[in-house]
């Protein structure tokens, strides 16, 4: 940098930490209410800010409004009252009538739907994956280059000529993620990405999401699976039955609060048998690493309550 530009930089007004923070706020929700058909509440007073590069998990029992919130993040539905903004611009139907904003938003945000059959609407997997960049007018050679890269990462080359109905659930899920990732979005929204998948496919999808997060992308995940939430999020927002956020905090703190998780239908007691002993404990990921999370009265895996070595 030369001296003149140095001097120019010095003359610029310094931004306050708050201003810098606000520039990095991806979504800002203020007292958001939403009801289906105007009479079935799905979100009842949500206040939430998502910062660029953040990894967020949204957890909650069925019907607590998680998927509705994700649809709102993707600009598919809008608040009945309250407001949601995207990098400072209010998101409402009028905003999406503006073709420039709509295009800007859709290229930045990628949404992986809960039901892969909804997202795979083209006759072949290849057409499905390249659908989004084609709509945005990305050059063909760039699309094909991105496609080749994704095929290699996800190992889905053999699926490209197949029709979506010829795929397994895990394959469909991988293809839906590819169809979103090909657009290279900055913000990735995932609705139950590992639901109904076998452990190996779940693992590969979690690894993929972790890689994206490591690249600095903002990742918002809705899940029931506390193991997944623990792995792919820094911050956890817990939705309650009253359709609002009842707790927000670090994943490590919230996901170890057994009492709270059980009260909110996010964890259950797990009972299984070891030889002639029945073993009951709260089922947490940490169980596999730390015995302190076992419930009182649980039989220690190595030394049963009877003291017998196992």
């Amino acid at each position: 940098m030369d001296a003149a530009s140095d001097q120019g930089a010095e003359n610029l007004p310094l931004k306050s930490p708050m201003a810098i923070f606000m520039e990095n706020v991806v979504y800002d929700l203020k007292n958001v209410y939403y009801a289906y058909l105007g009479k079935f509440p799905a979100l009842a007073g949500i206040d939430l800010a998502v910062v660029r590069g953040e990894k967020i998990a949204i957890i909650g029992a069925n019907g607590t409004g998680k998927s509705t919130l994700l649809a709102m993040f993707d600009g598919l539905i809008f608040p009945d009252t309250g407001a949601i903004s995207f990098f400072g611009r209010v998101m409402d139907e009028r905003a999406f009538d503006d073709a420039t904003f709509s295009r800007h938003f859709r290229t930045k945000v990628g949404f992986v739907f809960q039901n892969p059959d909804v997202q795979l609407f083209c006759p072949t997997v290849k057409e499905d994956i390249v659908f989004a960049p084609l709509q945005f007018g990305v050059e063909k050679h760039k699309i094909l280059w991105r496609l080749d890269k994704l095929v290699e990462i996800l190992k889905i080359g053999h699926l490209l000529v197949r029709a979506p109905h010829e795929l397994s659930v895990g394959e469909k899920r991988k293809v839906t993620i590819a169809s979103v990732m090909i657009n290279e979005p900055e913000i990735l929204i995932l609705d139950e990405p590992t639901a109904g998948l076998d452990p190996e496919t779940s693992r590969s999808i979690i690894d993929m999401v972790l890689n994206l997060a490591a690249e600095g992308k903002t990742v918002i995940t809705s899940t029931h699976d506390l193991h997944v939430a623990a792995e792919i999020s820094d911050t956890v927002h817990v939705f309650g039955k009253d359709k609002r956020i009842i707790k927000t905090g670090g994943a490590g703190k919230i996901l170890t609060d057994e009492k709270f998780l059980i009260e909110n239908n996010l964890m259950h007691t797990h009972r299984h048998r070891h030889g002639d002993k029945i073993h009951t404990h709260a089922h947490l990921h940490e169980d596999h690493h730390n015995e302190k999370y076992h419930w009182p009265g649980a039989v220690n895996l190595r030394e049963g309550t009877d003291g017998a070595k196992r």
Binding site: F113, V118, F121, P123, E127, L134
Partner: protein, 180 residues
């Protein structure tokens, strides 16, 4: 459809066989039989070729051919989506049928059967309606804004040109043979 054409009312000519009914005389003519046979043969060969094409060509290729013939992209896309979701809805119907069977057993009384079928149709309609909205949202989410752009990779290679050449030669030979 070809049956009336064999009678002298529609195709007069040399009578092969006749019958009287209520004072009316129905004569089957040689020319009528020949015309009906030709009609049936043409329909059968057309249907056979259509079935052969459908069985030996991937539906995606057929859709690409429609694009090559300048059929509007939106129409081709809609046709592809219709076919795509037939499988999804078929799966729903099969699962619903299995669920009913597991609860009611194989034998269902006629009246109950009617109710179950009616309920299944209503349920399928409701699901298809919901899915319609969700698919549209998924399209919006990935940049759809009223016009569809697709990867145009349809190219005729050497095999296609050879086949086209053979087809043209055969057609000319047949036409020449018929004329002379």
């Amino acid at each position: 459809m070809a049956f009336p054409a064999i009678f002298n009312f529609f195709t007069p000519g040399e009578t092969v066989w006749g019958i009287s009914f209520c004072g009316l005389k129905f004569d089957v003519t040689r020319q009528g039989l020949a015309g009906a046979a030709l009609f049936i043969a043409r329909v059968a060969s057309s249907v056979s070729f259509a079935v052969l094409l459908a069985l030996t060509t991937r539906h995606t290729e057929l859709l690409k051919v429609l694009r090559a013939f300048n059929v509007p992209q939106l129409f081709v896309m809609t046709a592809g989506m219709c076919r795509r979701y037939i499988y999804v809805f078929t799966e729903i119907v099969i699962n619903t049928h299995m669920a009913i069977k597991s609860r009611c057993g194989a034998a269902v009384r006629y009246r109950e059967g009617q109710e179950i079928v009616t309920w299944s149709i209503a349920n399928l309609w409701k699901r298809s309606y919901e899915m319609n909205r969700e698919v549209y949202n998924a399209m919006l989410s990935r940049g759809y804004h009223g016009e569809v752009y697709v990867l145009d990779e349809f190219r005729a290679d050497a095999k296609d040109w050879v086949f086209l050449g053979i087809a043209v030669v055969v057609a000319l030979v047949v036409a020449f043979d018929v004329r002379f």
